[in-house]
Every structure is written in structure tokens, then in C-alpha cells.
């Protein structure tokens, strides 16, 4: 009865797979073993794995060498193991399967993965880069009231694209380590998406702030918009960088992304307001067509101003107010 020995990384990625049709195989550093390991902590003839009528078993041959099954230390002698058990000998991780070990059905691609895969075709990536360039240029044009030098605007847009490329490059290195392939274009796509979403959010926030007429609203919307777009980028990058299928990894990816964003938003919003010699207000002006909020009359504005003259937290350090007689007059 045959069996399979997988040599895996600590995270469980399969590095080598050895298939045996015979009932036993010996593992160790010596060259007469069936599986030869280069781990100095492994004995010359470390253990023997069998799959016979009694089922899968492991027999430790070298008493001095380190052998574990899960958290259980294995002594000299034979121990039965289940198919799929993980063993650690020396510093090498092994997984042992019986030949008839059931294999789960093939995993379907999630829709997002399908989209990402489809969009990372060279033509689609080029189109995305073009759209991103156009949106960045358009936004710079609409935000400017000077004569635009094409050279400067292009330089600005290309800098943004270079930043997106830098982000993709760093993440593709991470992905290369974790998954064995860089997936550069997928990361580039994620970064370009971030540029588009944050540019769009910026305009939406401007229109909302113009109508709301409040610095607080604008700041909150800005934090939210930046937070959400950054969280989406981080979640997407982590999802691309690490293998899917395990809910722990999903939670890990989203957990990191949203924790970072929540931390950023909370710390930014909880900043103590320091003294400012100039007032903090929102100066945004937009075309009148984008004004949907209501207006008030001049008299209402003057009346409402009354509330501004109330300073509940003012640290007024004089005991006698200016309307009172000075205490030092005699």
C-alpha cells in the first residue's frame, strides 16, 4: 500500500513531494535513505514510515534526534499516525498521506479573483494605466486656474503613476516570497484603482463640503474617504499577496487593512486642537449647479452669529470683567 511524503515549509507550503508504491520508506541524512534531508538536526537514519495492513505508522530509529508529531514528542519505536499527519524531525516539516487519502474538489475562483485575472491581461492593464493618467490629468486641470504647462501636468500625473508602480513593486516582492510568483500587474491594478477611487472621493468630498459648509464635515468626510480607499487598497494587496482559501488568512488580510485604517482615522480625529492664529474654515467654492443645500436670510445669519460669541471653555483669567469697576481704583 503506497503513501506520499510531503516536505513543507513552516507555513505549510509544499516544497517537495515523494510518492512511494512500496509499503516502507526511510528518512534521514544518510545517502542510503529513500528521502534524503540536508537538515543537520536530522539523524543519519532518522525514522521509517510504513503503510501496511495496520495502516500508516512511523518508527523512530534515532533516539537522540528530535521527532515530534504535532506537540507530541515521538520516542524510539513504532507509532500509528493518521493520513495527513504532520511530523517535525530536526527542523524539517513533513506531511504523510496514504495513497487513498481523499482529495477535496477543485476550488472555484472567486468572482473578484476572476476579474483581477481578466484585468491583468497586458491590454487591460494598458487601458487602466491610460484611464488613470486621463483622470489624474483631468483632475489637475480642473483644480488649476493658471495657464497649464503640459510638461508640469504630465510630470505630476507620471509621478502618481510611478508611486502606484512603486507600491506594486514592493507588494510583488512580498507576493514572490509568500506565493512563489510576483503578481506585479495585479498589484499595479490595485494601486491604480486606489488612485482613481481617491481622486473621485476627493471631488465628492469637495461637493459635499461645499454644501455642508463646515470644516468638521469636510475633515470627517476626508478621513472617511481616505480611510476607506486606503483600506480597500491594503485589503486587496494582502489578498493578492497571500494564498486564499483559509478564512484565517482572509481575516488576517482584512484585519490588518481595517485596523491600520481605523488607527489612522482615530488618531487623526482625536488630535487636540492647538492654538491657531488664523481661523479654520472651509473655503471651497463650486459652480452653482452643484449647490443643493438651502440658503438663509441675512438677518438669520446675523442672528445665528450670536452663538459664536459664547465661549464656554474660555480660560478667562480676570476676576473683574471689563464692565465692572476696576478693583484697584481708590
Amino acid at each position: 500500500m503506497g503513501f506520499v511524503i510531503e516536505i513543507t515549509s513552516r507555513s505549510g507550503r509544499v516544497d517537495e513531494r515523494h510518492v512511494f508504491a512500496r509499503p516502507t520508506a526511510r528518512v534521514g541524512r544518510a545517502y542510503d535513505n529513500d528521502v534524503i534531508l540536508a537538515d543537520p538536526y536530522v539523524g543519519p537514519h532518522h525514522l521509517q514510515i510504513s503503510n501496511d495492513l495496520n495502516g500508516l505508522s512511523v518508527e523512530v530509529l534515532d533516539a537522540a534526534a528530535h521527532s515530534h508529531k504535532g506537540h507530541q514528542a515521538l520516542g524510539v519505536g513504532r507509532t500509528s499516525i493518521a493520513s495527513g499527519s504532520e511530523l517535525v524531525i530536526g527542523r524539517t516539516h513533513l506531511r504523510v498521506y496514504a495513497s487513498n487519502h481523499p482529495v477535496p474538489p477543485a476550488q472555484a475562483f472567486e468572482r473578484l479573483d476572476q476579474w483581477i485575472t481578466a484585468a491583468t491581461q497586458p491590454f487591460a492593464v494598458a487601458v487602466c494605466v491610460g484611464i488613470c493618467l486621463l483622470v489624474t490629468l483631468g483632475s489637475a486641470y480642473l483644480s488649476s486656474y493658471h495657464t497649464l504647462e503640459l510638461e508640469d501636468v504630465l510630470l505630476g500625473a507620471l509621478s502618481t503613476l510611478a508611486l502606484a508602480g512603486g507600491w506594486a513593486l514592493i507588494w510583488s516582492l512580498v507576493t514572490r516570497v509568500s506565493r512563489g510568483e510576483p503578481r506585479f500587474f495585479q498589484h499595479l491594478l490595485a494601486a491604480l484603482g486606489y488612485v482613481l477611487v481617491s481622486t473621485l472621493f476627493d471631488w465628492v468630498v469637495q461637493v459635499a463640503a461645499y454644501n455642508a459648509g463646515s470644516v468638521g464635515v469636510r475633515q470627517t468626510l476626508n478621513y472617511l474617504a481616505n480611510g476607506i480607499s486606503l483600506a480597500l487598497l491594503l485589503a486587496l494587496s494582502l489578498r493578492i499577496a497571500f494564498a486564499q482559501g483559509f478564512w484565517v488568512r482572509q481575516a488576517f488580510a482584512h484585519g490588518i487593512a481595517w485596523s491600520v485604517v481605523a488607527y489612522t482615522v482615530l488618531t487623526t480625529m482625536s488630535f487636540e486642537r492647538f492654538f491657531e492664529s488664523a481661523p479654520d474654515f472651509d473655503p471651497t467654492i463650486m459652480p452653482d449647479a452643484l449647490h443643493v443645500a438651502g440658503s438663509e436670510s441675512r438677518s438669520a445669519f446675523v442672528d445665528e452669529a450670536q452663538a459664536l460669541f459664547v465661549f464656554p471653555d474660555a480660560d478667562t483669567d480676570t476676576e473683574a470683567g471689563p464692565n465692572e469697576l476696576p478693583s484697584g481704583v481708590d
Binding site: Y141, L142, S143, S144, Y145, H146, T147, G213, S214, V215, R273, F275, E276, S277, A278, P279, D280, F281, D282, P283, T284, I285, M286, P287, D288, A289, H291, A293, G294, S295, E296, S297, R298, S299, F301, V302, E304, A305, Q306, A307, L308, F309, F311, D313, A314, D315, T316, D317, T318, A320, G321, P322, N323, E324, L325, P326, S327, G328, V329, D330
Partner: protein, 425 residues
């Protein structure tokens, strides 16, 4: 044989030679008056060294020494940290107390406790004549007593607080010293300079009023200084705003809008238009500023009133880009009061759309910001900024900044100011 090239040289040389009569007058005045002039020193208690200097002079018969408020302001605000001493012509340096002050006109009265009343300089009566020779005395740069001749060039008309224009050189350290006429009578108190022989004196009637107030028994103690400053500021702004708000404010056209004109002679108004081939817009600005501010401390000056209008239009920018320009034009507002968190609160602001686009007054994006004075809580700095919106590629921004104003006066000013402006249809 004439030498025409020497003529300009002789003219220039003659400028450096005092006329004999002027030199004689200065010499005689200095001899008769120098005993009444003192140097005022602000001594920092911990180091026992001088932290600031100025000048002063004995005035009247009751032993008072007159100087500027700003000379002794540190001792007024922090009497535990600073004390006032006076150094007379004989070299004797003694402690002096602050008896009273007029913060608005920058005057203070000192007296040396338990000292024998010393006859002081006499205050002049009657009006001065333009062109009259005056002599300013004081201790410039701690270099010893100095007399500086100059000319009276009239009253500063464009000011809420009258000042004498003295065409002579006042230098740091001479503040608080007297300006005398040829008879040796006090006609003003040295207070400020704009350089190039443009100097200012406090008219003597304010000193006279302060002396009379003190003679009637009104004397201040250290614990009442801040309250008295607050009372004087409040009284002054009531006077000033009553004057302004009762005036009929004229209007004028600026671009396509109607705006406020020159409210009164107390403001100096300037205008400019940014119009360049490289610019995609035209921006016409009109700025009016009051000429006065009241010195409270080196970091706290109040009393200024400024207002500004900016008309912008463009054929080259589309609506969105023109809005970006208006956003930049709305970008900042500030007062001339350089106060810090020791003096004022942070600003509280309110923004709103005011009016309707299809009305004659138009629709305004308005911002009002207010901060309170910590030591004088009935007074505020108030800033307003409004943008007239609703028309394609045309807009007006208007702004005012009031320093040291009460809520009632600020709101009345706001209402009147906003009521002036509209599209000029």
C-alpha cells in the same frame, strides 16, 4: 569766475548746519529742561537687570512723571516680574509706582513714592501752528539725554486718536519723553516713528485729562490694572463704533458688483488690479485699513478695523476652474492682532449660504469667525469673509476684520457691511 558745480555742494552742506537760532534754542531748552527728564527702566526681578527702557518727564506740580503706556506695559501686565525705576539727570535711580494710564492714547503716569514733589514741565495751552519748531527730548538707545529739533506738521486727521505729526527723528528709547515748544512747554509726548523724520506725538490734552483724573483721586493698584485696560478698551470701542455705525456708508461699483466705499477718513484705502497676459483671470482689489491700533503688549495689539473687496472675472476659465480660483481667493483671513493663546481663544466659525441667487443681493457663501479676549472677555476679534456666487465666471469676495469689538457692535457692523453688497445689475 563762477563755479556752478560748487553750488549744489554748498546747498547740501548747508543742510547739515543748524541755523544759529535753532541751535541756540535747543541749547537753552536742554539746559532748562534736562533736570525734568528721566530715563524709565523696566527691571526684571529675577535678574535685577533692565528689560526695557524708555523716557519720561516730570509734569505739573504734584510730582508725577509722564511716559508712554507701552514703555511700562510689562510692569502693568506682570507686576510680580517687573518693576519700574526712574533714573534722573543727576544719576539717581529710584523705584516708581504706576499711578494711572491711558491705554488708548498710550500714556502712563508714574510717581516716586515718598519723594518730594518736584516742579515739572508746564503743559502748553492753545493750538500749535503748522511749521512751528518743536524739540523732542529723551534717551535714545540708552545713550544719555538727547534733544532733537523738528517741525510740527499738523494733526493726523485720518486717525481715530489724534496724533501730532513731528518731522524730526525719534529713536527707540525716546518713547515717553516730552516734545517742547520754543518756550519749553510740553506740547506732546514722544510715541512712535515711521523713520525718515516722520514721527508722532501724543497731543498734550490727553495727558492733561489723565493728570486731572489722577488729581481727582483716581489711582490704580496693580490688581486693578487689567480691569482698567478692559474698561478703557470697551469705552473706546463704544465711541469708535458709535461713530462708524451712525455714518451713512457710501457704495461704489467694483467690477460687476456694488460694494461699500470709503466709510470715513479714518480709513486709508488702496486699490490694485492684477491683469497680466499670463493670468487667466482679472482680479481687482480694494482694501481699506484704519490707521490706528492700540498697544496692549508686544504680542497683543487691538482696535484695528480693516475691510477688503476683490472682484474676479474670467473668460478663459471654465466654471469649475473659476471656482478653484475663488476657493483660493477665499483661502485665508486674519487680523492685525498678533495675539497668542495667552491672550485669546481659538476662533469659532460659522459658514452658511446667505440670500438667493436670483435676488438682487445675490447668494453669498459667508463665513464668520470670532475669538474672545481672555483678559477682557467682553471683547472679541471678529472676521468675516463672503463670496458672491451664482454667476458663471464672475465673483466678488468681501472681507472685514475687527479687533477688540463687542458682540453687539460686531453684529451691527456685520449686518450693515453685508447689506451694502450686491450684483450691480
Amino acid at each position: 569766475m563762477t563755479r556752478p558745480h560748487l553750488k549744489p555742494l554748498l546747498i547740501v552742506l548747508s543742510l547739515f548746519v543748524c541755523p544759529p537760532a535753532l541751535a541756540e534754542g535747543a541749547r537753552d531748552l536742554f539746559q532748562t529742561s534736562s533736570a525734568q527728564i528721566v530715563q524709565v527702566l523696566i527691571i526684571e526681578a529675577a535678574s535685577d537687570k533692565k528689560a526695557a527702557i524708555g523716557s519720561g518727564f516730570h509734569v505739573g506740580e504734584a510730582g508725577f512723571i509722564a511716559t508712554n503706556f507701552h514703555v511700562v506695559s510689562e510692569a502693568i501686565h506682570e507686576p510680580q516680574r517687573y518693576r519700574v525705576e526712574v533714573l534722573d539727570a543727576s544719576g539717581e535711580q529710584v523705584a516708581a509706582g504706576i499711578e494711572h494710564f491711558d491705554v488708548v492714547h498710550d500714556l502712563a503716569l508714574l510717581r516716586v513714592p515718598d519723594a518730594e514733589a518736584k516742579p515739572g514741565l508746564v503743559i502748553a495751552e492753545g493750538a500749535l501752528t503748522k511749521g512751528e519748531t518743536l524739540y523732542a527730548l529723551g534717551n535714545p538707545f540708552d545713550l544719555g539725554q538727547t534733544i532733537v529739533p523738528g517741525t510740527f506738521n499738523g494733526l493726523l486727521e485720518t486717525s481715530f486718536y489724534q496724533k501730532l505729526l513731528f518731522s524730526g527723528s525719534l529713536n527707540p528709547g525716546m518713547s515717553g519723553g516730552p516734545a517742547l515748544d520754543e518756550q519749553g512747554r510740553v506740547v506732546g509726548v514722544n510715541v512712535a516713528t515711521s523713520g525718515n523724520q516722520i514721527s508722532f506725538l501724543v497731543p498734550v490734552q490727553y495727558l492733561q485729562a489723565l493728570l486731572e483724573r489722577r488729581m481727582m483721586g483716581d489711582r490704580l493698584h496693580a490688581e486693578g490694572y487689567e480691569a482698567e485696560i478692559g474698561r478703557q478698551l470697551l469705552e473706546d470701542q463704544e465711541y469708535k463704533y458709535a461713530l462708524l455705525l451712525n455714518l451713512e456708508w457710501p457704495t461704489q461699483t467694483l467690477g460687476g458688483a456694488r460694494v461699500g466705499g470709503d466709510i470715513s477718513d479714518y480709513f486709508k484705502c488702496w486699490g490694485d488690479t492684477a491683469e497680466d497676459d499670463d493670468l487667466l483671470y482679472t482680479l481687482t482689489e480694494s482694501t481699506c485699513t484704519s490707521q490706528d491700533s492700540i498697544y496692549i503688549s508686544p504680542r497683543f495689539q487691538t482696535g484695528a478695523i480693516d475691510y477688503q473687496y476683490s472682484w474676479a472675472e474670467s473668460d478663459a476659465l471654465n466654471d469649475v476652474r473659476f471656482s478653484a480660483f475663488m476657493t483660493q481667493a477665499m483661502g485665508s483671513m486674519y487680523t492685525r492682532n498678533p495675539a497668542t493663546d495667552k491672550d485669546v481663544t481659538n476662533y469659532q466659525c460659522r459658514q452658511a449660504f446667505v440670500g438667493e441667487a436670483d435676488s438682487a443681493e445675490g447668494k453669498w457663501r459667508s463665513v464668520l469667525c470670532v475669538r474672545q479676549y481672555l483678559a477682557y472677555p467682553a471683547l472679541y476679534d471678529v472676521l468675516y469673509l463672503g463670496a458672491l456666487v451664482g454667476r458663471a465666471r464672475q465673483g466678488l469676495s468681501s472681507h472685514f476684520a475687527l479687533s477688540g469689538v463687542t458682540e453687539a457692535n460686531a453684529r451691527e457692523f456685520l449686518d450693515k457691511f453685508m447689506g451694502l453688497q450686491a450684483w450691480d445689475s
